[in-house]
Symmetry: C2
Subunit: 309 residues, 2 copies
Amino acid sequence: MKKYIYGIDVGGTTVKIGLFNLTGELLKKWEIHTKTENKGEAILSDIYNSIKNNDIKLNEVLGYGFAIPCQVVDGIILNGVNIDWEGYELKKIFSKLVNNNNIYIENDANVAALGETWRGAGSAFENSAMITVGTGVGGGIVVGSKVVEGVHGSGGEIGHIRVIHENGLRCNCGNTGCLETVSSAPAIKTAFNSLLHSGKYDSILKDTKNISVKMIFAAAKEGDLLCLEVIDKTAYYLGYACQILSVITNPNVIIIGGGVSNAGPFFIDKIRKNFMEISFETVKDTLIVQATLGNDAGIYGAAALVIND
Amino acid sequence: MKKYIYGIDVGGTTVKIGLFNLTGELLKKWEIHTKTENKGEAILSDIYNSIKNNDIKLNEVLGYGFAIPCQVVDGIILNGVNIDWEGYELKKIFSKLVNNNNIYIENDANVAALGETWRGAGSAFENSAMITVGTGVGGGIVVGSKVVEGVHGSGGEIGHIRVIHENGLRCNCGNTGCLETVSSAPAIKTAFNSLLHSGKYDSILKDTKNISVKMIFAAAKEGDLLCLEVIDKTAYYLGYACQILSVITNPNVIIIGGGVSNAGPFFIDKIRKNFMEISFETVKDTLIVQATLGNDAGIYGAAALVIND
């Protein structure tokens, strides 16, 4: 009898493994090191070895969901950011190891969105979007409890919505003016430095070395005008992305996650305020909330891939 | 035995009715007048009377799909633009008339997108978006051959993507800077007049009365610099909307429909060129094409609602 699901989140540094029951309760979680060497060829057997030592029988496992740092379309791995798995037959190989055909794979940002929608900030909803604001800006779209992966695996690449029409900063993707260039953690620091050098404002942080995003938020909360302008601008563009989402897939809830979202209600409220100012009446009750699962979003979402099939 | 499907497109002036076989071939189509009086209470019985006189038996009909000018969520009519059907139990009422429970309803713009995806410009694809450029700018999103209606019925409201951050023109929706304010037929005329009055260019149309969008396109094709700038700007913003779509639902194909799309390849090529300049590598083979079904998109899409269920 099937009793369990494994949700596995493969990152560039660690693999997070979660054991769930069929009602979606997390029973146990742990991490192993990710061996990215040789195109990550050891990763699957490491995972297998790690779970076979667990005290549950593999024939009691309904299925295995994987969140991977790669673009995935219809179960095919197109390319990877931190692990070179392009074309890698993950499903086939892992299926043999565990003797189970219920293997699901999806891009990690999309899976995090699904996890938050299933058991985190978006619980009780089937339609959501997640914007993950950290070193980059990522995202995922869920419609009818399914990830919208897109035909090139670029569904939910919210960080690459163009938000600046002219003279935008260069993005890692090669274009200019992407949301990521104005809302990521590095972008917040760049905007701080640029505004400081403009001489428009004084700032309590002006003589501080190694400015962090956390410090910029703290200063903004204390009313530092320079930091407030930086954060307000960031919040405007994230609110703008929410406006776009509200008239494209029109979700119940937009979840803000990633390191920068740890700034909490001070930041989320600003994003919501900006959204409200530029969105039309019909969609104004769209929820904009902070993510709640943190680093566990991936294992939850990976388990949801199995449950929601 | 079930042999037929009816695709019914209810507009503010006429109801278009299409009879399809189960392989999606249009066998016959006709129109009747839409009686919008008294909250459109006569419309369904008029449709019923019109099809019962047809020479096929109603018990051979698999189902009936409706495209209606209303926002629809999960079969519930939220509100209507030209027909006041808020809360109207269309499915229940029509189901009794035709003695068939397979009744499907969806917003007309979304249904047109589905029709073009099923049998028009997007055939052979399951993931598409349509932008309809006419008096307003509408749209629809199809993911996995299903319309993304959104939780408020605002899925695919592409005309209300904000594209101008500051000092945008007022939109009919109440906000400013929507795509509709820079790309609809009236917006093209407004942009022409405004640029003419600015004195930046001379124009071969400067002394013409009752300028039409068709005339502006014709002059642009002849190299009129003023008209070219107007059309290029319109095409930029539509290309911009395509860029946004390419990183949100990431469709195979984006279909440009509506009256303005009749400008043909001259216009579609400009939209595509703008899209290519601002989109990232992965999505550059997204097709941007002109709609092919014209006013029949609605009846095709309505039939697809039945077929795709």
